[in-house]
Amino acid sequence: MPSLVLLLGLIAGWLGLGLAGLLRPHSVGFVARVIFPLGALVALAVGLVGLSALLPGAIAQVLVLPLGLPDLPFHIRLDPLAAFFLLLLGSAGVGISFFAAGYFRSGQGTAPGLLCLQYHVFLASMAMVVLADDAYLFMVAWETMALSSYFLVTTQHRIPEIRRAGFLYLLIAHVGAIGILLSFGVLQGGSWRFTFDAMRGQTLGPARASIAFLLALGGFGAKAGLVPMHVWLPEAHPAAPSPVSALMSGVMLKTAVYGFLRVTLDLLHTDQWWWGGVPLAIGLGTALFGAVFAAVQTDMKRLLAYSSIENVGLIFTALGLALFFRSFGLQLFAALALSAALIHALNHALFKSLLFLATGSVLHATGERNLGKLGGLIRRMPWIAATALVGTLAIAGLPPLNGFVSEWLLLQAFLSTPRIPKAFVNMLIPLGAAALALTVALAGYVMVKFYGVIFLGQPRETALAKAHRSGWLERIGLTWLALGCVVLGAFPRLLLDAAAPVTQTLVGATVHRGRATWAIAPIAPEQASYSGLLFLAGILGVVGFTFLAVRRIYHGRVRRTAAWDCGYPWQTPRMQDTAEGFGQPIRHIFGSAFRIERELPSPWDSAPRYRIHIEDRLWRALYVPLGRAVQRLADLVAVVQGGRLSIYLLYAFLTLIGLLVFVL
């Protein structure tokens, strides 16, 4: 079992690098330029090990570590599912770590050395979550991940809003962790053995299995950001430094997907037909919710956070379909839906990290996160703009980039639902497909807004003219991720190949991959096929040919003038659409989804002021009453807290008596 030992070594390497940062905690030069690039190389190695465990012929490896509590050693296991998520972690981690090397600089908040420790512990804990083979180690790694990311989110801990965002994140992470813990408690089924192997051996009744399933969905859903437990995402992601946002959104949300897959498709091997409906419905709702809310945001990182909610929704939609298909014995289609989920998780890790990092560069160059004060950066920061364009097109699900591949697979999975032999389900699925199509189209709207307002047009503030270019380390990180989007889009077969061992172990089938390496036809070539490479070649070929033909036959003469704009001479950059203006149609169409507070200036104001505040209705409908209820409950409990030592001693005494009575 060499590759598992190698992996442990690599994870230890990450921890070691993190500790090394403490040697010179205030030296940005040492921490950023030396340690972070080394961390990136470790990430590359982790990704490669993950890839090697997905190659045909690789077998699952297990290892028992003599760590942990007495009688409770740590079990670890490298199987295809774990390997796929290690590949995801590694491939996104390379780009993010390289970028982080150029990104972090001294300032207020956490010292660079400490940040470096937290960052690498975060990476290592995510790898351990994926490798864990017993509930104990899983929870330890899961909590380490939550805590290390909490400290990373609150890097700028002197700002009250950031402390508040961090608290919200920690709270919901722990509510989720309780759900996961309880789910494992049900899964052990009375055997009191907490290795995953023992759990696989248990046969639970339908009621118990359903409870475990729902607890897992709730627990992992809180981490993934499913509605209604999404509220921490748009707060925590903007608060964190950009590489951390990228890591959280691109990779950490996927560990929740991993956990859900592990519990539902691996540990629970009985299933009820209705199980799939729950993640499917919640996923679709989440996706649509995320897309609609992303369209009205004015802060670029909040916009991306809502877009992450949308993408997680899409992944859970695909998982729901996979569960549906599996419970009706349609293994091939279950494999198709599961592949769509896995591939979308990987794709999202690449393009969302890319976009978060790009916002980081913009933030550094301009000091602005507010879309309303940006604009025209394509001329100041061409490299960032070019890579961000790739990410934008990929996340909008446009061919021939990688985002389209997973959406295509998901739509194909939806189209296979008429084969489900249950009329009721059959009727509901078209509505699901419609919601999915709407979400995908809205994502395009959101991304045009994101890219157009930041990078195109004219600078909305004069200060933007001083925006400086990014460093070369940042460029390496961005280019790596952008290349990933293009290559995986051109060779979708690679994605299917990577997902195949996972679907084989989890649902017992793989999609058809055919002999042709340049095209995919997951069900049958007559039904549907797609080739990213030829698509790309086709577009580039026609574009190139047209360009040359027009140049050759006619001419390439260009005269530079002022913008025409119907001849209106007094244009200012403020006449462009703001982010708010661009989102206005969505606000208009989906008005009832938001709680809008608007302050309009009157014509007689000497200093007119326009203010709009858009809020999630769930805050007031769910979280505020919930908070009040908890407060009331706490007040009731507070009655017994007299604040005097003698009373507490009395409690202890009474408890002892009670226990004695109970024992005797």
Binding site: L411, V440, G452
Partner: protein, 316 residues
């Protein structure tokens, strides 16, 4: 790969490129007749294109490379779309590369690029047009996808030639779901091609224009390519409509030259009728207020979803 199939493929694409401006001219002519105006010559679009190609391009000072490359990308996506849609022959080798879902993606790519280009110069009209175009698009795109899903439920394939071949094959059956899809498709076609009642291709009135607002900053060869791409888009939509709703007359795999010629005649006939019908629709309807456009498109979307439900309910 069969060289004849490739030749037919290339031929079909070239035919599309050549016929698209002609179709535009035909629609304009029909419209003029119906509105009691003297009609412009049929070949006017070609003359306009030729004139535009010879002119010097005037470009805003701060236009980025994205702005300059977008016309080529638009033209490229529309040509590629023409390679997927069966207009004359059913046997298109390129169909293995992209199916109907990819076709919707291709249209979306074109839309995203033109909207980005419109925002690039940073004028009031450009961003206004981009916003409106994306608003139309995010409702029209799922509606079009749902129309294709209707066809999929009948034919079991998302490849357009397979759909057309399956629908054209005897026996002749009337599918109620396709009736819903047909109405939805016509509504999407009108919206996506900037026709009345959503947009007016002949207007430059600030408050109402959508497509024209986005291309205001283009001139000369760039504008020519944009216009040609728009013509190709309309032609492509018409051909999608033919493939889904009147799939007869397409030449099959082993067609003789005679049958091919017949297929071209059938296409011309269909185009002539469709152009006249389009002009009629545009003449009898008034332009909607921009705020009404979402309702119009939501109706198209719901009709297409209803078609799906009808199909599943009736089991046919």
């Amino acid at each position: 790969m069969n060289p004849f199939a490739v030749a037919r493929q290339v031929g079909a694409v070239l035919l599309a490129i050549a016929l698209a401006p002609l179709f535009m001219g035909w629609v304009a002519q029909c419209r003029a007749w119906l509105q009691n105006r003297s009609a412009p010559p049929l070949l006017l679009p070609f003359r306009t294109l030729r004139k535009l190609f010879w002119k010097d391009a005037a470009l805003a000072e701060h236009a980025s490379p994205l702005f300059r490359s977008t016309p080529y990308v638009l033209f490229g996506t529309m040509v590629l779309a023409a390679a997927i849609i069966p207009s004359v022959v059913l046997d298109l080798p390129f169909v293995l590369v992209a199916d109907a879902i990819a076709l919707v993606g291709l249209f979306a790519t074109a839309r995203v690029f033109i909207a980005l280009a419109a925002m690039d110069i940073g004028t009031a009209f450009g961003t206004l047009g981009a916003r409106r175009e994306m608003m139309i698009g995010f409702l029209a795109e799922p509606a079009l996808l749902m129309v294709f899903f209707n066809a999929f439920l009948i034919s079991g394939s998302t490849a357009l030639p397979s759909i057309a071949g399956r629908l054209a094959a005897p026996p002749f059956i009337i599918y109620p779901s396709l009736a819903f899809a047909g109405v939805a498709f016509v509504m999407v076609l009108l919206a996506e091609n900037a026709r009345i009642p959503i947009d007016n291709p002949a207007t430059h009135l600030e408050l109402t224009m959508i497509h024209e607002a986005m291309v205001l900053e283009y001139s000369a060869r760039h504008l020519a390519l944009v216009e040609w791409a728009s013509a190709l888009k309309l032609f492509n939509y018409a051909c999608i409509g033919f493939a889904l709703f009147v799939p007869w007359g397409l030449a099959s795999q082993h067609a003789s030259p005679g049958t091919l010629a017949l297929a071209v005649v059938a296409l011309l006939l269909k185009l002539a009728l469709a152009g006249a019908a389009l002009a009629l629709v545009e003449t009898v309807s008034a332009k909607l207020r921009i705020f009404r456009a979402p309702e119009f498109l939501a109706m198209a979307f719901l009709l297409a979803v209803l078609g799906l439900l009808v199909h599943l309910l009736l089991g046919a």
